[in-house]
Amino acid sequence: MKKNFHIDDFTHPGGQVTELDPAELSPLPPPYDKREKPPIRKLTDEQSTRMDASLDGVVAIGLTPPKSPEEEKAFIDKFLAGIEKLFSTDDNWTFLQPLVHTLEYCVKCQICSDACPVYVSSGRQDIYRPTMRPELFRRIVSTYIKKEHPLLRKIKDSDIDLNWQTLARLGELAYRCTLCRRCAQVCPLSCDNALISREIRKVFSQQMGIAPKEIHEKGSVQQLRVGSSTGMTPAALRNILEFAEEEIEEKTGRKIKIPVDKKGADILLIHNAGEFIAWPENLEAFAIILDAAGVDWTLSTEIAGYDSVNYGVWYDDFQFARVAIRQSQAARALGVRKISLGECGHAHKAGIVVADRVLVGDLIIPRESSLPLLEEIVLSGRIKFDPSRNHFPVTLHDPCNMVRLMGIVEPQRRILRKICPQFREMTPHGVENYCCGGGSGFAITQSTNFPDWRNSVSGRMKMKQILEAFQDAPGPEVKKYVCAPCSNCKGQFRDMFEYYDVWEKSGILYGGLVELIVNAMADLKKPFIQWEWH
């Protein structure tokens, strides 16, 4: 492995900048301290001819090398044109200010490095420092955009040789940051190095049409075409809701009609559509709670109105705006008073915070997190709870966008303190939380060997935190629950727990917040949470 990184390592054609050494990864508590297999699968020879993995042997976008010097030049020119646009007010009015601030104010003090779970977990690989992408970015700007004098560049050490290989590595490197923004939180100068990751992704996507398939083609493009990134059409949604209503009746004895397209409802609830396909118990629990509390709510069957995801928030301003507008249009068509977002972190950031930048006129509809609504219901006494039904160890995972970005920290905790007698915090938590490892689209990036990297590197810190939170009962005989109010985080936990065999070895299940609430409802005859791995 290479620790003393030099910029030439990054620009030199051929070879691999760094190789992850399993022995160097930060240690996990036993029995996870021994791993027999190498953490990251190697690409096959055939894959290696098609996909560049010369950064760290891992593939998120996997660019194919150019066939001629002309092709290479066109590629570089296109990239630089995209970089130039980032500095134009017309093209990048949304993020120009924080971009320039971050580029100009960073003093490379490296405080952010120790805050970065990817850097620390990887065994402190230089290339994963939060300052590495901005460093490369600044060099590109100095050499090719500002075209500073070679002597000045020499003095400033801001030179870089741009070739196809450099850009292929930079493109991959933009997908080694989960955009958790822990680096931005600790920066004494408020630089946001995660923003740089996203700006690089933007150039690749908006200018060059390059993004992980799962996020673009099968993600935001599919969402705008059929209604959901899962491919779920309105007809499929109705079929699933029928099934959910049956399940609710079987589990609770209650006949609940899940309201759909109800004009003039008080609240339009938008779930991450992953819940409908993979975790229907989450949307069922929402329906049970809102029904019991007498809330006037509805779901929508409009395009994007039943899928809160907005993957553009990770990589593309245009796709972001298109989805945000469709979601607000769905709410406007129903004439609801406000939108409430279900358990999905990035949808909170996209729909509640960033959408402010693109919504105008009557598309500005109040948009809120469902967590304070749930808190109000649980603490109001409208529903009777029996906390002894949740008498098992519970810890809480904080989705980065809810806590660090938005400061939604206490509602979920006040709920858990009331209904989970064995609730315990992870260390650290709240606004200082660690990412699940699946942030910014990583949890859905399922191709090639990227999941191996995500499970063994970007999720490693969270894995350690979870195990430590349950160290009083580490064995599988005591069933334990990681409450993760976010579909993306749940997807990451499912994959990571399978990767490490956590259900068998430690008996740790993951799930949402609403499932715990329903599980504690005093008048239900059967437990709502089923302790089955899924």
């Binding site: 491919g231 779920m232 499929a236 991450n272 899928d307 399922q446």
Partner: protein, 106 residues
């Protein structure tokens, strides 16, 4: 795009071996792929029951059925599905049924 030889024919698949051209699917694809997936011998009636169910649901709704619905409608529990398809419902059964990889936050 990678190609995969299944039962003597070549198919276009994604990086993880999911069929890309859904209309190329045939029963020989499923049978051929069974060997790759570590299922011994001929696919049984139970295998086909699940594969046919998945394909019918997909034809109607354009997505794979959710796992719990799959279990309920076929009468197989998840454990049984894993016995039939060791890689599980999504990475095993759906793959043999010729569906593409699940997308979105699932």
């Amino acid at each position: 795009m990678p190609q995969l030889e299944v039962g003597g024919k070549s198919y276009e698949v994604d990086e993880d071996g999911f069929l890309q051209e859904l209309d190329k699917w045939g029963r020989d694809f499923a049978q051929g792929y069974a060997t790759i997936e570590g299922i011994e011998g001929e696919l049984t009636e139970e295998h086909w029951k699940l594969i046919d169910y998945i394909r019918e649901y997909y034809a109607q709704f354009g997505i794979a059925p959710m796992i719990r619905k799959m279990c309920k409608d076929t009468g197989f529990d998840l454990k049984k599905i894993y016995t039939l398809f060791p890689s599980g419902p999504a990475k095993g059964a759906c793959k043999l049924a010729g569906l593409s990889k699940p997308t979105g936050c699932v």
